[in-house]
């Protein structure tokens, strides 16, 4: 005997179904009226791309829900009827009843939707502009410069540029040929400067990266703590190229369970560099030509030594330019200053020009002197 709540629930459900069915009937009635009276739903001449998008999405969702329902019952997805006409035929009939046909319909809808997305992307500019004018109306007060949709690429401009150059060249060539005499172009005389092969020259002339900051280039973003806790001294394996190379060799050996076969010279060099790194050096001991121990200033202080005598602006151009700049006088304003810009930088360590801070002792000495002077003057 079904319980009271179940009976009540069943009646509520039936009422709900009745209400929704009557609503659906009303909607269908209005749609039929619209179709018979207006031309909005007339699809004889095709539909626009945007409405195609909506219709395909709807059919995709319907196929999907039907498919899940049939799968829930237990139908296999393999029963399908062969399509009678190809996809591009205009009047092809609808697909059959099998579950496999629903899958095919979904595949079709998916392909069409993806293509529509691409096409819509190409028309995006036009659509956005139309939508904006529809929403806001014709507002002439809006500034053209602020509006992001007011400018679009104009390929015509590029074509005009190209044709102008050709005309000029054609004119100049025709002019010279008339005389028959070669006239060199009139340019100011310039000294000949050999073009430096900028492979190693450029690298050595540029200001060298300070060694304290050089390690930032090799930091591992997944291990941020490696630099923060070590303060001044960075991990020895990261400081120089040779140190990194040795670390890589070691890793390779451990990974592949072998020891690399090296010549005696290389093995000795490796041992020497590893000892140097263990003692806190840069590991470039063996690369020095003169093997004098203890003379390794270039490695540690290279950036400071090389930057002496260089201006802050760095390399100006060729050597000729640098000489000219060095000989020039500075502007009147710069010359009239008592302290130059370079001096300002030297003072940075001292926190600006040092003021004579009067300590308590000095103040008391001064007060005592004043007292004795005033006493002396009063007495005298």
């Amino acid at each position: 005997m079904p319980s009271e709540e179940n009976v009540q629930a069943f009646c509520d459900l039936l009422d709900q179904m009745k209400v929704s069915m009557s609503a659906a009937r009303d909607i269908v009635k209005t749609l039929r009226e619209r179709q018979s009276t207006t031309h909005e739903l007339d699809a004889r001449e095709g539909i626009s791309l945007l409405s195609l998008k909506h219709h395909m999405m709807l059919s995709y969702l319907q196929s999907l829900s039907l498919l899940t329902a049939r799968r829930a019952i237990g139908h296999s997805l393999a029963e399908r009827s062969a399509p009678e006409a190809p996809f591009s035929a205009k009047d092809r009939p609808a697909r059959g009843d099998g579950a496999g046909d629903r899958v095919d319909a979904m595949v079709e809808a998916r392909v069409v939707l993806e293509k529509v997305k691409v096409l819509e992307g190409r028309m995006k500019y036009q659509i956005d502009k139309l939508v904006r004018t529809a929403e806001e109306g014709d507002s002439a007060t809006k500034n053209i410069a602020n509006d992001p949709l007011a400018f679009r690429p104009n390929p015509q401009a590029l074509m005009d540029q190209g044709s102008e150059d050709e005309d000029e060249e054609g004119g100049s060539i025709a002019g010279d040929d008339r005389d028959g005499i070669y006239r060199p172009p009139k340019l100011a005389p310039m000294p000949y400067v050999e073009p430096s092969k900028s492979k190693d020259k450029d690298r050595s002339r540029r200001a060298p990266v300070p060694s304290a900051l050089a390690n930032l280039a090799h930091l591992d973003p997944s291990k941020p703590y490696m630099e923060s806790t070590s303060g001044l001294g960075s991990t020895p394996a990261l400081s120089s190229g040779r140190a990194r190379e040795l670390k890589r060799i070691n890793e390779f050996e451990e990974e592949n369970f072998t020891r690399l076969v090296m010549k005696k010279k290389d093995a000795r060099r490796r041992a020497l560099d590893e000892a140097d790194i263990a003692l806190g050096g840069t590991g470039m001991v063996s690369a020095r030509r003169g093997r004098v121990p203890g003379v390794g200033l270039d490695d540690e202080f290279g950036d400071i030594i090389k930057s002496v005598g260089r201006t802050r602006k760095g390399v100006l151009g060729d050597g000729y330019e640098e000489l000219r700049q060095r000989g020039k006088k500075e502007s009147v304003l710069a010359r009239s200053k008592a302290r130059s810009r370079d001096d300002a930088f030297d003072d940075l360590g001292d926190d600006g020009p040092r003021q004579r801070k009067r300590s308590r002792f000095e103040k008391e000495v001064k007060a005592a002197k004043k007292r004795t002077n005033s006493k002396a003057s009063r007495r005298a």
Partner: protein
């Protein structure tokens, strides 16, 4: 500093891999031996055998390098499942080291080279005849 040969030795293994294809277990061995010179391979094999509960003949150690300053060395170790696979997969020189294979007899290198150079001057069966050095005098 006295070299104390009975000081404690710590053995750590890293990167432990069970290599089924070569029927062995392989790992990197870290030996800590402060106040002691390098530990010998034989002693290391014994200790590893006791740690991994195998016979000491199956354990092979090689490639030890001491870090600068002493006290720590790093090398490699292999433990084979059985003698047959060890004889099959180990390279000859390591088998000779552990005693499972016999080294080929050392021929006199100079003699071999001289014989070869003499044979270079001849052709065909005369090579065998002139294998001996020409008798001086007589």
């Amino acid at each position: 500093m006295q070299a104390d040969n009975s000081a404690p030795v710590t053995i750590r293994t890293r990167k432990f891999i069970t290599n089924r294809l070569l029927a062995r277990r392989q790992f990197v061995v870290d030996v800590l031996h402060p106040n002691r010179p390098n530990v010998s391979k034989a002693e290391l094999s014994e200790r590893l055998a006791s740690i991994y509960k195998t016979e000491k003949d199956r354990v092979v150690t090689f490639g030890f390098r001491t870090a600068f300053g002493g006290g720590r060395s790093t090398g490699f170790g292999l433990i084979y499942d059985d003698e047959a696979s060890q004889k099959k997969f180990e390279p000859k020189y390591r088998l000779i080291r552990s005693g499972l294979a016999v080294a080929p007899p050392k021929t006199n290198r100079k003699l071999r080279k001289e014989r070869k150079n003499r044979a270079k001057k001849l052709r065909g069966t005369k090579k065998a005849k002139a294998a001996e050095p020409p008798k001086k005098g007589k």
